[in-house]
């Protein structure tokens, strides 16, 4: 899932500025699971902004603030985005609490409105324990984890090293942050457990990083489309 964290309230206030009416749009996907952009967060942010607008009435030039609240199932799907057709008519801006993918879909749907990101998408990761998420993939487009024991050095090594740990791997930790496990230590241990350390002696070839901008068309869907 995509893990995101809320932007600071300072940023959000700057987005709203002296505007009279804005919309806050949540997303029922990843940002609802790691709760920073679901329905509840939309309500909370709207309440906070209303309080702020009341308090700051003078500095905002006595502008009242109206907020439209909405949460759709997924902001990255045209089907759900299209359900917003005709909405936000008199809004001056939208704050999206989805990841950058959702924000862009929303901006494409409402090109005349200013659309602001209300959260920072930080990575694709897994839930390690409730409330703790860790990056697991950067979508490099050329997956190699079949050769590294099912552990990804591209996303989990600070230098994305492909040929073993750097000289800063100590006591199982990464030199960049002692709270981060050294993924190469983990790869080494897993390979040792499997009795396959020899696999790590192979020099990993230079990686093809030419994946951006990426686009994936699922061929079987395209075929079905043609046939029908």
């Amino acid at each position: 899932m995509i893990v995101a964290r809320p932007k600071s309230f300072e940023d959000i206030k700057r987005y709203v500025g002296n505007r009279k009416k804005v919309a806050i749009v949540g997303c029922g996907g990843c940002v609802t699971v790691r709760p920073v952009g679901g329905q509840k967060q939309v309500q909370e942010l709207a309440a906070l902004l209303r309080l702020w607008a009341k308090k700051e009435a003078l500095t905002r030039g006595s502008q009242p603030l109206t907020i439209e609240e909405e949460t759709i199932l997924r902001q990255c799907e045209p089907e759900f985005i299209n359900s917003l057709e005709g909405r936000f008519k008199d809004c001056e801006a939208i704050i999206s609490l989805a990841c950058g993918v959702g924000v862009q879909c929303l901006a494409d749907k409402f090109p005349e409105l200013e659309v602001f990101p209300g959260v920072d998408a930080v990575f694709m990761g897994a839930t390690i324990e409730p409330g703790l998420y860790w990056e697991r993939c950067v979508g490099c487009g050329n997956c190699i984890i079949g050769e590294t024991g099912g552990l990804c050095p591209v996303s989990r090594c600070a230098k994305s090293l492909l040929n073993g740990p750097c000289g800063g791997s100590l006591g199982g930790h990464c030199e960049v942050s002692p709270e981060t496990p050294c993924v190469w230590q983990l790869i080494y241990e897993r390979m040792e457990q499997r009795g396959n350390l020899g696999a790590l002696d192979r020099i990993m070839p230079i990686k093809d990083w030419s994946v951006r901008p990426g686009r994936l068309v699922l061929e079987h869907l395209r075929v079905e489309k043609k046939e029908s």
Binding site: A158, K159, S160, L161, L162, N163, G164, P165, C166, G167, G168, S169, L170, G171, G172, E175, V176, C182, W184, Q185, Y188, E189, L197, L200, D201, I203, M204, P205, I206, W209
Partner: protein
Amino acid sequence: MDEEKTAKPSAEVQETSRLKSGSNLERLLKEGKFVVTAELGPPRGAARETVERKANILRGYADAFNITDCQTSVVRMSSIASGVILLEMGLEPVIQMTCRDRNRIGLQSDLLGAAALGMKNLLCLTGDHPKFGDHPGAKPVFDLDSIQLLSVVKAMRDEKRLQSGTKIEVEPRFFLGAAENPFADPFAFRARRLAKKIEAGAEFIQTQIVYNVERFAQWMTAVRAMGLHKKAFILAGVTPLKSLGMARYMKNNVPGLEVPDEIIARMEKKKSKTEGIDICLEIIEKLRKIEGVAGIHIMAVEWEEVVPQLVERASLLPRPTPSISAVPTC
């Protein structure tokens, strides 16, 4: 690479007798001389005089001079540019190239330029993470890692082709080096990783600073068991301690560096520079006796002044002149 190995059983012998670059460092090592290299840190600024001043202090006390490439991710004058200053002074540089700041295009381009400017020794490094430096917000590149960089430069030199496969007319003739940290984890993987670097093209190895000689010797045992000391020249890294503060800093703040308590205790007792120099001399003495150690690399960070007396007291003077001709034969 594998094919090459099986096809030519005597490849190892040939490898070491042939000259790749004809550099002073390469010739001395291949003649079996115990070499001394010294590190020179370029200035944070455009002062040519700083490079010249440091080079003049070191002149005559080492066989080649390593110029760091923005070490610890701090912006400094470039390694290649400083190398040109050294060449103009008649000294032999070992330039360093990290994968931190350049992608494969930048790396190859700068190295072609370095070769054209007369550089012959190249140390290929992955590089420190930008987080440790003076621009922690920099985008780390790491398009290649050090092992892949070695293989790219080796192919440029030996096969006259760029990483893309494009042929080049004139190849850069570098004597290739890599670094290894015998003290990092997983310890058992360290010699194997060295083997990968050598397979990729490293002909000389500079190690992390040695304070724990016993642990270094253990690593060397693994290195010898794999025959790696016959395939590459291993230069053990040393750094004299200037003060107790520096010893503590090295122990606690430099990732992958091991300073035994015993050394800290000695520095505590005497609290002097001379004690640091004495310790360093003892370490050099022990390192010289370890089979497979082909030389030492002195990293006297911002303390170049100490190098002359260190080399002199270690009885490593005068520095030899190579007898074989400087013309590369590969």
